[in-house]
Amino acid sequence: MNKLKALFKDKTKKRLSVYFTAGYPSLSDTVRILEGLQESGVDFAEIGFPYSDPLADGPVIQECHKASLRNGMTLELLFSQLRDARHLAIPKVLMGYLNPVLQMGIEKFIDRCRECEIDALIIPDLPFDFYERYFSAPMNEAGLLSVFLTSPSTKPERMEIIRQHTTGFVYITSDHGITGSSVNFEKQKKYFQKVREFFPGIPKFVGFGIQTGEQYNLACRYAEGAIVGSAFLKHIMEFGTHSTSIKKFINQFRYDPGSN
């Protein structure tokens, strides 16, 4: 069974997910980071594959994409690393822009995902018409879940389309912005509430702008959990990717219902 689906079965716990860019800081860090995340009790990992023009990303993730490409990361190489990470039980979500996928070929890409036991896909610049035409059927067949984003500007009609197509979870981007900007919960309260009400049966995760344990706790009020990206990458820039460094970072994000 899909590991992410299995995880979502237990609805009693709040979840934590971490995003990192594969190939950063060094080409061979992918498996090591996955191990560190698993050991630290992270519920699922989002593995970013790099693109030269990451439109929805802020300076931190841009820098990681650039460094990863400079290091020589490619989709083929990433899949060969992920093949060696199949023993790790942590659910794995692949995230990246559409163009590298198109150049590899959609079928081949989805095949590789299946081989590497990837659980879900996030492609932020994939439009729904394109998804329906080329991705939806082969993804279903490969047991890959789909994840779509909402933003504060997403209208109800659009949310309806997102609801129809989501088989994994809804990714609630926290602000009118790109990754790495800090979330303002007071300002976004209404939006988070609206999303919570709109997707009752579907898992929801808040991403973009979660930098502190406090923000994580607040996010968990509205969703099944949250995703930390830029803050994690900044941490490993400074403190490295060994497991004690990762643990130390992750320990800030323990859900505490009493703190709200």
């Binding site: 030269s52 929805a56 300076p59 841009q62 163009n99 439009p127 018409d129 659009r158 009118h176």
Partner: protein, 402 residues
């Protein structure tokens, strides 16, 4: 004429809107209103006023007699170089800034490479009283200091782009990122027929004034249709503007001229149609310079305005349909053509436009042919490049007048 389908595709394949959700509403809102606004009488009145009295339109369709003698056919130059701010870019900038006003926007952002679109947008914003921020790659700012100063004099804030390779494509990324963070108040004025739908169509509509004038001007001279229209292609806005009215007329050959840079096989080129593959950049699917892994390759051209790794989706469509002919011109060929035009017709062209001129060297004409070259801009901004190359091209020993 040519229009995309409702999802922004030309021929069901090129174009579209490949944007992250954060940008979806910006695009949708623009898409919902632009056609109605730009075809309204109120808009047309204002736009035509500024085109005529501010930009200086119509631009002449100049019978270049000396060039005609040289090539043994009739050559006309469409003089976009005589537009205010020095290039066709003002047609689009005025249209979009005016559109932003009609939409109730409070602020304009734009990207620029060499600075031509930035200067045009800054001028339009000054006259239409809109605050304006222009994103420009850090490297381009160093290369084009005079245009930075022009934009600043016109009241624009020039924001250096330090992301990626610090050139035009990164300035475009940063402009889009900034637009994401303030979709309600800001309008993003893109500089060519690229970007997510509806931009390629929007910019095409504003630039189509070029071929609308050509048609009228030929009619006034009692001439029916040209046999050839030749234009350079960066993103493709001056080219589609010059082609627009003639796309449905197969008797008119449309020639799109790309920058080959140091040669299309040199790895230092900007010839997206000649050596690229379809891919996604800045929200649309079109021919793109990219490696086998789908990473965008930094282009090269001596002409900053053609130094873009992609091309408008409409040109990918016309290319695959074989409705246009695509030629590519190397840096040195363009430079030679620029010097040639100076001596032959007394016009110093922009380096971009010089690519279109160089292309006619490579074509065979018959006596009765009528060739229109779209002279997209003037050469003031390129004096530095011309100065650097005159030795190479043997133009050094010019007799002094004094």
């Amino acid at each position: 004429m040519i229009r995309p389908d409702k999802n922004g595709y030309y021929g069901k394949k090129f174009g579209g809107a490949f944007v992250p959700e954060m940008l979806y509403e910006n695009i949708r809102a623009l898409n919902e209103v632009y056609e109605e606004i730009i075809s309204s009488d109120a808009f047309r009145r204002e736009y035509e006023f500024y085109l005529k009295h501010f930009a200086g339109r119509p631009t002449p369709l100049y019978h270049a007699r000396n060039l005609s003698d040289r090539y043994g056919c009739t050559v006309f130059l469409k003089r976009e170089d005589l537009c205010h701010t020095g290039a066709h870019k003002i047609n689009n900038a005025l249209g979009q800034v005016l559109l932003a006003k009609f939409m109730g926007k409070k602020k304009i952002i734009a990207e620029t490479g060499a600075g031509q679109h930035g200067v045009a947008t800054a001028s339009a914003c000054a006259v239409l009283k809109m605050p304006c921020e222009i994103f420009m790659g850090q490297k381009d700012m160093e290369r084009q200091q005079l245009n930075v100063l022009r934009m600043q004099m016109l009241g624009a804030k020039v924001v250096p782009s330090c992301s990626g390779s610090m050139t035009l494509k990164d300035a475009t990324n940063d402009a889009i990122r900034t637009w994401i963070s303030d979709p309600e108040n800001t309008h993003y004025v893109i500089g060519s027929v690229v970007g997510p739908h509806p931009y390629p169509d929007l910019v095409t509509q504003f630039q189509s004034v070029i071929s609308k004038e050509i048609k009228l001007q030929l009619a006034e001279m009692g001439i029916d249709d040209p046999t050839h229209i030749v234009a350079c292609v960066g993103g493709g806005s001056n080219a589609i503007g010059a082609f627009y009215e003639y796309i449905g007329k197969p008797s008119v050959a449309l020639v799109a001229v790309e920058a080959a840079g140091k040669g299309i096989r040199s790895g230092q080129t900007a010839a997206s149609l000649s050596v690229g593959k379809p891919g996604i950049l800045h929200g649309s699917l079109s021919y793109l310079l990219q490696d086998d892994d789908g990473q965008v390759i930094e282009p090269h051209s001596v002409s900053a305005g053609l130094d873009y790794p992609g091309v408008g989706p409409v040109h990918s469509f016309l290319f695959e349909e074989k409705r246009c002919m695509v030629l590519s011109i190397e840096d040195e060929e363009a430079l030679r053509a620029a010097f040639m035009l100076c001596r032959t017709e007394g016009i110093i062209p922009a380096l971009e436009s010089a690519h279109a001129l160089a292309a006619i060297n490579k074509m065979d004409f018959r006596k009765g042919d009528l060739v229109i070259v779209n002279l997209s801009g003037r050469g003031d901004k390129d004096m530095h490049a011309y100065q650097n190359y005159k030795h190479l091209l043997g133009y050094e020993q010019t007799e002094s007048i004094i």
